[in-house]
Symmetry: C3
Subunit: 231 residues, 3 copies
């Protein structure tokens, strides 16, 4: 089911039962798994690997209870060169995935997200809308990256971390602000960050910590609430 | 692959490689994504949106080690009007999803669950069997809703929350009891609730808190174990 | 799309749009769901149930930023008798799943994992590479089992638990060591284990605890950091 307006490069390896919609543009040397769905307008570079049962370029939707409605005029999903995408992933339109990025199985990335070169989005990790992720960032399996969040270069986020951008927990129509994680900072597994928190450069957050206030550059914090180690 | 006994209404938009089994009933103005599987007997209302690669009406199964076997005589899955269902979801038979509900990508809902009008089940959220969810409830991305749990109207559950219904951790064949979350209560991200806990009306549980005993109406608790704030 | 070199036993129930690659061997009395993909060389026993939209025998891949590259010479995936596999699962090659194992929907198991008889891998649980899981183990919904981990017989891991094997959080090319959970130990929901931790026989870790040092046989620990109960 490849739409006649889709443009495929050379050396395309195509799985079974694939759906490619109108105006999709695919580069050279791309492997497309079985049962993959590529939505209208999606642009894919060269040397890209797409796992089975994945959706690229999904349009956001909402119900009556959601205060934040998805925008209508949204750009196509853009995937650059040498990207590897796992199986059973759901990637929305309006996001850009840069060169050499790796996206694990069962991960999902919402609209208007930017991911820098060679970063890793682990299996089953969820990334919400409007978030910017730098270069060579590692986000491990099962971590939850909220919307309106900034993750700078070389940050390491262990498995099962949780972040939030909604201080008043659904109470109304105010500005959401996710955490900022500065260059080279590291989070241990299952760490919790509150909305708007800033984690300084090269800071370390221990596994299972609950971070309720900003962490300074190079600081190491642990516990619930997180406090500086050995103080 | 649409079974001849299936009944489809008017204005059905049908994706590629869809499987619709016997005795399925679908209303008017329904969009069915690619590679969707609708199991025997499932009933779907009007104005429903079903994302790609989703399964509706799955039959539960078990292995030898499970103390709780799934019941055999189980009703079909019922989906009411104006419901939106994400991609790669797995919804079991025996549950009912009321008007205007939104279910995110990669979510799963087990058998005998009831979900009230306009509630939101976030992406990758998991809901276990026999749980009742009220109206206008928000369950955010990645939260785990155990079985035998009651969530009243207008409750807000942040991302990555975890609940449990099994006090003796698999030790035998006793009655399981999940938490009860009363009207308007809110849970911050990555909060943990122990089995049988009651969270009172309009109570607030801070992010990363571990709730080991009941929380009174309007109380705000934080920490591990969770204690009243500023006390 | 069944490759001509694949060998299927008697009484195979085959869904729609299935892909079975070369040299796959399948026993008798096996049910294969719709849109299932079985990769080259995978071996499946008798009386096996495979849910819809699942992938069996996936080959690992990596990007430039990953210090641990997947091995090239890897054995096929081996699934023994009476195994039940959920929908939307992703199982890698090089692993072995023993008799009577149950794997929930949306779960994923990486390469070189061994799972003993009658164990349960819950819905949306993730298991990383090189991990050994004993017999009659229960891993509940959404738990994260890191790589290089040992889980002995009759262990119970509640929902949403998180483990880690990387003490220096991505800092280099050293040996990773996951936790060891000894016979009969139990973890409450959303517990966090640090790398290399040993949980002794029949020990109990409370819900939401953060375990930063070894736990002795029969000990009960709670809190962040976890300490012996009532001490």
């Amino acid at each position: 089911m490849i739409h006649e307006t889709a443009s495929l490069g050379r050396k395309i390896e195509l799985g079974a039962y694939v759906v490619i919609e109108e105006d999709v543009i695919i580069g050279d040397n791309v492997t497309i798994g079985n049962h993959v769905i590529i939505k209208a307008g999606t642009r894919i570079g060269n040397n890209v690997l797409i796992g089975d049962l994945s959706i690229l370029g999904k349009t956001p939707s909402a119900n009556q209870s959601m205060s934040r409605k998805p925008e209508h005029a949204i750009q196509p999903l853009v995937i650059k060169d040498d990207v590897k995408i796992g199986s059973n992933t759901v990637l929305y339109k309006g996001s850009s995935i840069n060169n050499g990025v790796f996206i694990g199985d069962l991960a999902s990335i919402r609209e208007k997200v930017r991911i820098g070169d060679r970063s890793i989005i682990g299996r089953n990790a969820m990334v919400e809308m409007n978030t910017r992720i730098g270069k060579q960032v590692t986000i491990q399996t099962g971590s939850y990256i909220t919307g309106d969040m900034i993750i700078e270069d070389n940050v390491f986020i262990g498995p099962c971390c949780s972040t939030s951008n909604d201080k008043y927990m659904g109470a109304g129509n105010y500005k959401h602000r996710g955490p900022t994680i500065q260059q080279g900072a590291k989070l241990g597994n299952n760490a919790t960050l509150l909305p708007g928190i800033i984690i300084g450069k090269n800071a370390v957050v221990g596994a299972g910590s609950v971070v309720t206030k900003d962490v300074a550059d190079n600081q190491v914090v642990v516990g619930n609430p997180a406090r500086e180690l050995n103080k």
